[in-house]
Each structure stands twice: as structure tokens, then as C-alpha cells.
Amino acid sequence: MDVLYFAWVRERIGLPREKVETDATTVAELVAELRRREERYEVAFADLSALRVAIDQELTDFDAPISGAREVAFFPPMTGG
């Protein structure tokens, strides 16, 4: 699946998107798996309350299932308008 990062999440992880192979069944599990990879992921995902997640371009929660998802995106709270 494609994992996308925006704003300071992108900056901390150091790339805008990557392919991830995972057995995680929820967003939270995917995050736990990413945090174990490298310190930059650990730093980026340290505070989930400061993050938002979208599955296939729709906002959702961290306990949402990701089976079948093509694209999971992580980003800070939005500041449009």
C-alpha cells in the first residue's frame, strides 16, 4: 500500500510517500510498525493526538481497519481557509 506524509510529518520522516508491505490490520498497528523502524518515524508518530489519518483519501480514525486500503495518509490537523 502507499503511505503518504504531509506537512511536518513529511519533513520529519523525510519523504512524501513510500510503498509499505504490512500485515497490520488497523491504522494503529501500522503506526506501531512504522515507529519500530527508525527514530525518524518514532519522532513523527510520537504524539498521535497531534496527527490525523486518511484512508483512500477519506478522513478516519486510528482504529480504522486498513485491509484493502490502497493509500493511507498521515498529516497534522489541517489549517486551510
Binding site: 504531509f6 506537512a7 483519501q57 489541517m78 489549517t79 486551510g80
Partner: protein, 145 residues
Amino acid sequence: MRVLVQDSPFDLAAEMTGFGGDGMGAIVTFTGVVRNNDRGDLVAMDIEHYPGMTQSALTRIATEASARWSLGDVLVIHRHGRLEPGEQIMMVATASRHRKDAFEAAEFLMDYLKSRAPFWKKEITRDSADWVAARDEDEAALGRW
């Protein structure tokens, strides 16, 4: 309904020509402009967005507004990229038979755009580049709808 996501400027006047159409007595517009920060040293606002999601998120918000209020027309334009102080960032426009619907729908659009459309602002000054933090009051504003 029109929803535009673009890096180029927009022209309020051109967008408003013919907007609303027959029978609409009330037209409300909101225009957001890059304003300088309190120190007066803003060089630019850099606006990142999530290309695949932006158009559909804005369309969903506009559709929701059309479902809740009696609207003859809705327009949403949001820019991304590097914008300097004084430049227009975005606009919404609503047309309705009565002013109450037009005002409420425009405020609803703005409240949702602020917190539910995938845009992130970075404030560039001569010495720094900081992501603008989401404001609790913007999230709280959603509670009234």
C-alpha cells in the same frame, strides 16, 4: 456548484459574474487574504495540500452545505503554493433566496474548510519557516453545525 483547487490567482469579479442565477436574492462571499504576522516580517505563506483528496473533500463540504440550506449556487476556490502577504488564498460564495441561508451556508463552508480540507500552511519569514498550528477555536467552531 463549482469547486476549484489551483495555484493561480482567482478573480472575485469574474467568478461572481452570473453567479446565483434567477430567483436568488442574496449572495454572500468570503475571501481569505494572506495577512502579515504580528511582527510584520512574513515573506510568504506556503500552502501544501493533498492533491488526490483536496477536490473531493471540498466537493463533499459544498455538497453538505447544499443539502442543509436552500442554495441556488455554491462556489469554493482554494489556492495552494507560495502566496505573499495581500494575496487571496481562497474564497467561498453562496446564493440563496434569503440572506439567512446564504450567510449560514458560507460560515459553514468556512468552518469546515478550516479544519476538514487537506491544506497546511507554513509561515515563511526571513529567519524561519514554521507550520501554522491548528487553532482549538477552529475545531470548536464545527460544534455549532
